[in-house]
Symmetry: C2
Subunit: 398 residues, 2 copies
Amino acid sequence: MTFPVVGMVGGGQLARMTHEAGIPLGIRFRLLSDTPQDSAALVAGEVVVGDHRDLGTLRDFARGCDVITFDHEHVPTDHLRALEADGIPVRPGPDALVHAQDKGVMRERLDSLGVPCPRHRIVQDPADVAAFAAEVALAEDEAGSEGAGTSDGAGFPVPVVLKTVRGGYDGKGVWVVRSTGEAAVPFRAGVPVLAEEKVDFARELAACVVRSPHGQAVAYPVVESVQVGGVCDTVIAPAPGLPGDEAVTAQQLALRIAQELGVVGHMAVELFETRDGRVLVNELAMRPHNSGHWTQDGAVTSQFANHLRAVLDLPLGDPRARARWTVMANVLGGDYPDMYSAYRHCMARDPQLKIHMYGKDVKPGRKVGHVNTYGDDLDDVRERAAHAAGYLRGTITE
Amino acid sequence: MTFPVVGMVGGGQLARMTHEAGIPLGIRFRLLSDTPQDSAALVAGEVVVGDHRDLGTLRDFARGCDVITFDHEHVPTDHLRALEADGIPVRPGPDALVHAQDKGVMRERLDSLGVPCPRHRIVQDPADVAAFAAEVALAEDEAGSEGAGTSDGAGFPVPVVLKTVRGGYDGKGVWVVRSTGEAAVPFRAGVPVLAEEKVDFARELAACVVRSPHGQAVAYPVVESVQVGGVCDTVIAPAPGLPGDEAVTAQQLALRIAQELGVVGHMAVELFETRDGRVLVNELAMRPHNSGHWTQDGAVTSQFANHLRAVLDLPLGDPRARARWTVMANVLGGDYPDMYSAYRHCMARDPQLKIHMYGKDVKPGRKVGHVNTYGDDLDDVRERAAHAAGYLRGTITE
């Protein structure tokens, strides 16, 4: 057998779905998982249980792998460099991945590339945050923005977004603060804190691209991502009403970032679309991403298959959509632990529904799966996805 | 967790692809495999290595499974009855499955249902085969068939197909004989032998259906199956030029057989299309089948996903095609063991190509994978599939 071994660090749902996409390719998939009960560990053939923060564990795991890739961004950058020094291809490599691991590094690099971002600055303490808020308010005044500069006594003139530079996801490690008192909380962890203007965006978009080591790259259709409570709720592909030239601009921006940063594999560029049609980069994720789950049933080649093809330096697959509209809705845990019993109703109601569950125990608010729907009528496709996600969660009962 | 455990007996590529299709459903998949290197055992999480012909092994395996289903038809019927007596749902059940296990039982039952089949009879020895050949020649003469009755001395007036009633597949256990001397071979195994007329068919078709325990059933589009050397080479969905009423007739025939025989799960009905537009049943397979592999990329719901939904008594998924044409081409082993090195060329030449490899060692003539292509232009779709299959095998080098 000359088929390569892909080592996947992390046993979450992204690893699970990457394994699923790798089965047809005939490659061997080796998993480093925190526990035997992790989402991917339940369905994969070769599972090593161990701690991805321990270099010895990583080295043992990597021996015999042809390439290492990731389910998450939490492996220390120095460990990745050590694996590379051992001669193991790490994709994406540490020099690229650090931009998805550290929001401070990411902002600095995007600034140097002239990529449009929200106003931002590393801040030292609550007083520094207050100064940042004043700067943003002044800049917005000068730009003639509505609503800026309306101070409410002891509060900031504008709200400020604070983020720990490492470790946040799905709304964790992110705060919106309006006063020096509120601004004290994020500093307690002892991690550097990034302040960003709170963008008054029209909606959130995502531009997903895949790049291979020899520089081939493909761009998926730009999608709209609807967030609820800081967590992605629905993704619509393509983003409704997005003018063609704006979509191309967003795709080119993502392709340029991938090239400049030397990304290998799938990268999601989360974007704010402003009310005047500009896009600002919100976050980068260098791995398969929630905003690309629609591709499993809606694109010729899924993000998971293309991520694998990229990390193996194989030619990439066609990223185009197969349907006029595809909608992904996340399934969160609700009050009913028995999600399987909801299958009967959901499948009978919509024989075209695609359910993707992660094998996780149901906990309120936990992402335990998603559904995809597709078709020609956006209202119908959205309704079907929302209904199935709500019925599985238990918030819709008919 | 309330998700069910599906026990799959047999570790071949059908089990492998069923596991792949089960991952999104979040079900647990438990495999009984002959060896740890079997196709499905390489990629599944819960693997029991054991002999499916041993009742004790089957009973141990079945404990803790919510339902048992199959990758092949080789489990002894009595063992299946014993599992049912233990209270384990076996799907398809032994009363249905016996028709896919024993060609004699199958022909007798289809006769009783009035389903059109080739002329046939259980034969006892070579002299009996000669008598059968004479009967067929006479019947064909009476029907005014061309070419019948041309005897060549010591030979039969028409060739006869002999099949052992159990154990054959992919051309194994099947002989075309033209004399009593040739007819001696099949009797040597000591298994009952079925004689069938050699149908002068226009082409082979397959009608695939899925049926659930409570009686819901779906029919996939009727496909054309192109055989080379007794092995399926290419499947075209839908069958080109098949009149709509003939397609519906074939689907209805397959649905009726599924209902009458109490089939649960996927069933492929292999058909001969005669030159005057009639269809005769060639074989039945009660499991996912090579003639349904196109559904992985060409239908809304794959045969594997629908087989799982059926054995779990979940509502079935939409069987309709997603593309105008889908073509599946089997990849056989050739002279070059390193099939992975062919990926680069195949993927670069056709970014829409879907490769499905089974993780098997390459041996000349062995089915080691298949490819699917789809699109609007049948000639183009066929060319792409044939090229990729040939390039992977090594018979095409550019």
